[in-house]
């Protein structure tokens, strides 16, 4: 069909084309006018922004460090910057399948340790910075990475437990998974921020960031467990039986035969959950942690500027969009790659 007949082929199609086209033609110039022509790109304070009718991008430039690093001491902000770069580099390095292997675990272990040392300080003549002062993108990243990194093995254990022939692990795992999945994350965050200090012995302190991390980890473990379970169910029972018949132990059977096949099958839902968890880190706002979103919100309260919330929230949304959209594209790549072996 020619483009014209696709756009105007039937009455309904033509009406929709004209209506949508009209909206776009009316809206686009206004957006460009607001975002580019009338906008303020650089200013030292809010005066220029108050007069202008367009977007106040100067605010983002002025507050860039506050939004990305929160209330981390200003003269020490090279540390979160470096830590963030480190995590991003690790993520990028982990993407190509040819880099997958045992060395990746070592790399991640080292990277997380380096991240914590850089952020926390106290070693190598770095000034100690307690986690209450951490903020912005590094907090968002470390929460997402730890929730998924610890939650994934935990989820596998829960999934294996739920499919176990033994009654005790089955009931415990099923109960845990269903309870966590029935609860909103906000209530889990509350629970861990209020209950954990009461449930631990006196003197065993656990800071706010770790408490939120615990809640996010348990939450992601329960959801990942259900996905892994789906994969396990899709592996034919003959695989496990054959492997046991060859004399492999249960542990070896799972690790070498069943899990690799199961995980391969659940890449699409797995990446969906990863995206959901990256987005969920923004919820730590409700327990008063300074992640990317809360830092942006805090920056908006500066009375020297005419709180340009549209620009700020667009900026934050754009960062999340890049991360989440990137993950979904990557998942599409993995699926294509997985289908090469089976496609004829």
């Amino acid at each position: 069909m020619s483009p014209l007949s696709v756009l105007f082929g039937s009455l309904g199609s033509a009406v929709l084309t004209i209506a949508l086209g009209a909206v776009l033609i009316l809206a686009l110039p206004r957006i460009i006018q607001w975002g580019v022509i009338d906008s303020v790109w650089s200013a030292n304070d809010g005066a220029a922004c108050r007069e202008a009718t367009g977007a106040c991008w100067a605010f983002l430039r002025a507050k860039f460090r506050q939004i990305t690093f929160g209330i981390y001491p200003l003269d020490q902000q090279w540390r979160p910057f470096l830590a963030m770069i480190l995590l991003f580099a690790c993520i990028l390095w982990s993407l190509p399948p040819r880099n997958w292997g045992r060395s990746l675990l070592v790399l991640w272990g080292t990277a997380i340790a380096a991240f914590l040392i850089l952020m926390q300080g106290g070693l190598f003549s770095l000034v100690p910075v307690p986690s209450a002062y951490w903020g912005g993108l590094p907090v968002t990243l470390i929460l997402a990475v730890s929730a998924l990194g610890i939650g994934f093995p935990l989820g596998i254990v829960l999934a294996l437990g739920r499919r176990s022939a033994m009654a005790v692990p089955r009931i415990l795992s099923t109960g845990l998974i269903e309870i966590i999945r029935g609860l909103p994350l906000v209530s889990l965050l509350f629970m861990s921020s209020i209950m954990l200090p009461i449930m631990l012995p006196d003197g065993m302190a656990i800071d706010k960031l770790a408490r939120a991390g615990v809640a996010l980890t348990i939450f992601s473990a329960a959801y990942l467990a259900e996905i892994v379970r789906g994969g396990l169910q899709a592996v034919p029972a003959g695989q496990e039986e054959a492997s046991r018949a060859l004399g492999l132990s249960w542990g070896q059977t799972m690790r070498l035969v069943v899990l690799p096949q199961a995980l391969q099958k659940v890449i699409p839902p797995l990446t969906n959950t990863i995206i959901v968890m990256v987005k969920n880190t923004a919820l730590v706002l409700v327990v008063g942690l300074f992640d990317l979103l809360s830092s942006g919100k805090a920056a908006l309260t500066d009375p020297a500027w005419p709180s340009p919330f549209t620009e700020t929230y667009l900026f934050i949304a754009a960062i999340y969009f890049v991360m989440c959209f990137g993950i979904s594209r990557y998942s599409a790549f993995l699926e294509r790659r997985a289908s090469i072996g089976t496609a004829r």
Binding site: L183, S307, Y313
Partner: protein, 379 residues
Amino acid sequence: MLRFWFDRRVRSAVWQVAILAAFLAAIAWLTANTLDNLARRGIQTGFGFLTRPARFPISEGFLAYEPTQTYLRAFAVGLLNTIYVSVLAIGAAMVIGFVIGLARRSLNPLVRGVAASFVEAMRNTPLVVQLLFWYAVLTIGLPSPRAALEPAPGLFLSLRGLFFPWPILSGWAVPAWIGLAAVALSVGTAWFGRTAGRAPIPPPRVIAIGGLGLAAASGWAVGASLSFDRPALQGFNFTGGATLTPEFMALMLGLVLYTSAFIGEIVRSGIDAVPKGQWEAARSLGLREPRILWLVILPQAVRLMVPPMTSQFLNVVKNTTLALAVGYPDFASVMATTINQTGQAIEGVLILMAVYLVISLSVSALMNGYNKRIMLVTR
């Protein structure tokens, strides 16, 4: 001895006892710590606080509520708000999501492109960012009541919310409105029945409802006319009429748009999963496209759509707790205030868990029941 250890049943029993012991030990340890900590902080446990006055205000709700009333009453107000927002958001998101799902399959590239960008934008940004954005638009972005926008006569939009006329329910007004609703219902049912190709003549039920409606509506003509309570500017704010607060509107806008993107994808994949032969067969029978969709494709697609739709509904219920970010008093935020105020963390958390588990379980039970009813019956 070694042979004993290699017995499968013995090993299984040993493992299970070990796991159970570890689990119970962990629980015991946490409980002991908790009791110890509570004793040290001098916190009394128990649900006695529920009947004490709450002493905090709740900005909106359906039940009449005063800060002098009990915590139990405050919880009821919050719970009703949660259910109200969930039901409304699910309903609206279904309608918009359905339109988006169809738009994603449109032959028109412009329609398809707009729908696809909407879905990607919604799905790849956190809901709480969207909620804060809408809340900012509705508060910072709108003028003060004195300079309120008036998109339609009697309708005012300002940073204090949306104000609109509300019918006064007195005298003949109630039967009149019921009558109008009944007429609309019967006309709608008759039209729906026609398009669905079911009954050429309206069934007696529809005629009865229509008759009842006409009778009641004529009461309106005889008795009083419908009168409205109209909002009017008084001092710094509007009085009269009905109000939608910015908190409520932001929460609804965010939840509905976000969820509709996910529902749109479910609708799309449900329709895509119906074999092409079904379309072709229906076309060769001479059916028009909308009727094919309605009569042939959707009934089959719904079977595939129900399980993922159920988890979306559950997500909406859980996502209503984000009301906290915009200050709408849902159940979780009432509970958060209560815990802060009373220090009864354990009781509060237990009630919170119980309430959301009950809601989640009832939604899934309802949807599973529906699923059973529409499931393909095979032998």
